[in-house]
Point group: C2
Chain length 423, copies 2
């Protein structure tokens, strides 16, 4: 930490960093059975201590109400019996997934007789930064335990009572499982200064995972020197090609926009081939309007005579995260690809088409984590992909791209066996 004296640094951060490192050393050599046992006991303890957790959660809710927190945020912060049951169920599900640690990825022999193998190992110590969603405390802790990583949690000050309670219960479960209690730690100092120090704690942290608003993620990316697994915004498109089946295209567009509008894999702009538009644009827009979607349309869309807000440059860039949608008529697949590569956030992009050639071109040339043919963008999700668990969806190109399951929480190690080889 150049420029900072030890004395000026957060002692809580340094101490927890050191303890996390010790815990990571032990976790790295913990068997799958021990890790699964710990997850099972965590599930049991969460159920056993639900009254305690809900009472502590209530303190955050009251403080939130007093401070004028919005209903949407309060809703995310609030825990109930069912939430705790769902968390416990997820922990039990996690015990059933394959443990990636120790997996042999490749092995080969060199002409000089060296035998090289590459195996999966834990990342080490993960710094998790998130907002007022106490369920992330359980999610992140359990995924890290399963992959042999220790985790330092930095949640929101508005969820501090909930997070302290949950981490206390998790740490008790770790103790009962004979795993290091410091495998999961919460930073109780939620000041911005200490968060900034955490983002630069390269001596202890191997990776940072920010989860939350675009603003939170940008803050971490801007300030961090620790490598970041960037999860991010989704300005996702559906392109309806000339040969798209009308019913399928409309169903997918409506599904991708309305099934859950607030999430990153929801559709934000529909691009329509001009020939398809001349026959089916009104029907598409009507179906969207029937689901209360406000349409921001280009000139052609405005000419339908339907209730359309004129779209401008800003609409092509906007992630509405609500019942609003931009609609634009394009010349051809080429124009659709150009638009997407210009305005998209490289998350999830779909083409609805019956043209083998256009589909191939779209899937190859669109630069995104997930590209779809004839399906809703809403499937970009660790569970829908069959990963069983998810720590987030990566929109960067390093390490992991798209839904991140357990494998994304691992690194690799080369093991080289020789019999005296010299260079």
């Amino acid at each position: 930490m150049s420029g900072l004296f030890e004395a000026n640094r957060s002692q809580e951060l340094i101490q927890k960093g050191r303890k996390a490192k010790d815990a990571a050393t032990i976790l790295a050599k913990t068997t799958t059975e021990q890790k699964n046992k710990a997850l099972q006991i965590m599930a049991e303890q969460l159920m056993k201590e639900q009254t305690f957790i809900l009472l502590e959660n209530e303190k955050d809710i009251i403080a939130g109400e007093d401070n004028g927190m919005s209903d949407a945020l309060l809703d995310r912060l609030k825990l109930n019996d069912k939430h705790l049951q769902d968390m416990a169920d997820a922990l039990v599900q996690l015990t059933k997934l394959n443990d990636p640690i120790g997996e042999l990825l490749e092995e080969w022999e060199r002409p000089n007789g060296l035998h090289i193998s590459q195996i999966r190992v834990p990342l080490g110590i993960i710094g998790m930064i998130y907002e007022a969603r106490p369920n992330v405390t359980v999610d992140a802790s359990s995924l890290c335990i399963k992959t042999g990583n220790s985790v330092l949690l930095r949640g929101s000050s508005t969820a501090i009572h909930s997070n302290k309670a949950i981490v206390k219960v998790i740490q008790h479960a770790l103790q009962l499982s004979e795993l290091p209690v410091e495998s999961v730690q919460l930073l109780e100092d939620t000041s911005r200064e200490t968060a900034s120090e955490m983002f630069r704690l390269n001596e202890y942290l191997d990776v940072l995972i920010p989860r939350g608003s675009a603003q939170l993620i940008q803050t971490v990316v801007q300030q961090a020197t620790v490598p970041v697994l960037e999860t991010g915004a989704g300005n996702c498109h559906i392109y309806i090609d000339e040969t798209a089946d009308p019913k399928m295209a409309i169903d997918i567009a409506v599904n991708a926009k309305t099934q859950r509008p607030s999430v990153c894999n929801a559709c934000e702009t529909v691009l329509v081939h001009k020939k398809w538009a001349s026959k089916h644009l009104v029907q598409l827009c009507t179906a969207l309007r029937d689901k209360d979607v406000h349409i921001h349309g280009d000139e052609t869309v405005q000419q339908t005579g339907l209730d359309v807000i004129p779209a401008n440059e800003e609409d092509w860039e906007t992630e509405y995260l609500g019942l609003e949608l931009a609609v634009k008529v394009v010349e051809d697949v080429e124009a659709a690809i150009t638009h997407i590569n210009q305005y998209g956030t490289k998350h999830s992009e779909a083409i609805i088409s019956s043209s083998v050639e256009n589909v191939e071109q779209f899937l190859n040339e669109v630069d995104a984590a997930a590209v779809y043919h004839n399906a809703s963008t809403r499937f970009t999700d660790g569970f829908e992909f069959g990963f069983g668990a998810e720590i987030g969806i990566s929109t960067q190109k390093l390490h992991a791209r798209g839904p991140m399951g357990l494998n994304a929480l691992t690194s690799t190690k080369y093991i080289i066996k020789g019999n005296g080889q010299l260079k």
Copy 2:
């Protein structure tokens, strides 16, 4: 770029960033044959234009001499006929390696009928930051072309004439190959301010690769918001276990220290089991002294009566990068592992031993990119691993760990094919 007005930004950087993006779009869909043809023509042009390149290089050498550049740096900066021939040969070798782009990594079908596949794609645009070694200009450009990435090069001001000349020749070769000339661009403004802007050019750059001194790499890590592929220092250890074959152990220690002391995979500390030490320590130290190695030893080593500099805490942390070596006697394999995990830089670590149990423990518990049994740490290298080419050695845990060949310059993309699936 929050807080910076467009007008204040380096126009060269923005313009070259934009052009790199356009080039990357084309490169991503370029065939293996076209890319190999471009590499072949680059090799031919480098040979054809060697007089021009060497004359321009001479300008940098004269300026370096005038500015009192050290002989070691001048040696790295200076090009001759043989260097250019080696570069051309490496380009031809590169055409023979498999193209990773388009490789199918995994595919599976979901219960709802969605067919998911994961393929390798280029990273996109790579920012390469390096010091006064003109050969990196050719290395980085060719590896990026082979993997379908465009590259923005930022070399040292002390190599500007050499780099401009080489990039001019490369761009002419790209033109002859009918690939975008802007696939390879050099930032001619070598100011620190523009470099700092480049480290934060997230709108255009997908990844930064710093190559050079520890200081250069730290500057990039500290300032960058673009994801960094961190290559780094190597404080590598050889641990000689109780049961190590004496001749093998001594040969490996001498090789790992002296075969090329200035590189990151050279050995910096030898740890010796106390029982092995009681029989062979003098022989080990004598062999090292015979190769002009200055030994920094702990108390036991000092008691050998040989010419030994007393070692202190700092020695365990030092990457000497020269004919100096720290030697320490340890209780057992456990103590060796603890020492390495405390002082090592997670690069390359070796155990010399005949104990199956101790070898297993060492290979499992030492946290490093490459762990060796009975071989020299000097083999941590893309060519020695059989990768055929290398962009550097990663000492971080994200994306790629250890020697980075062509695969490290790729990302992945999920392709999902459906028949109207809705969520």
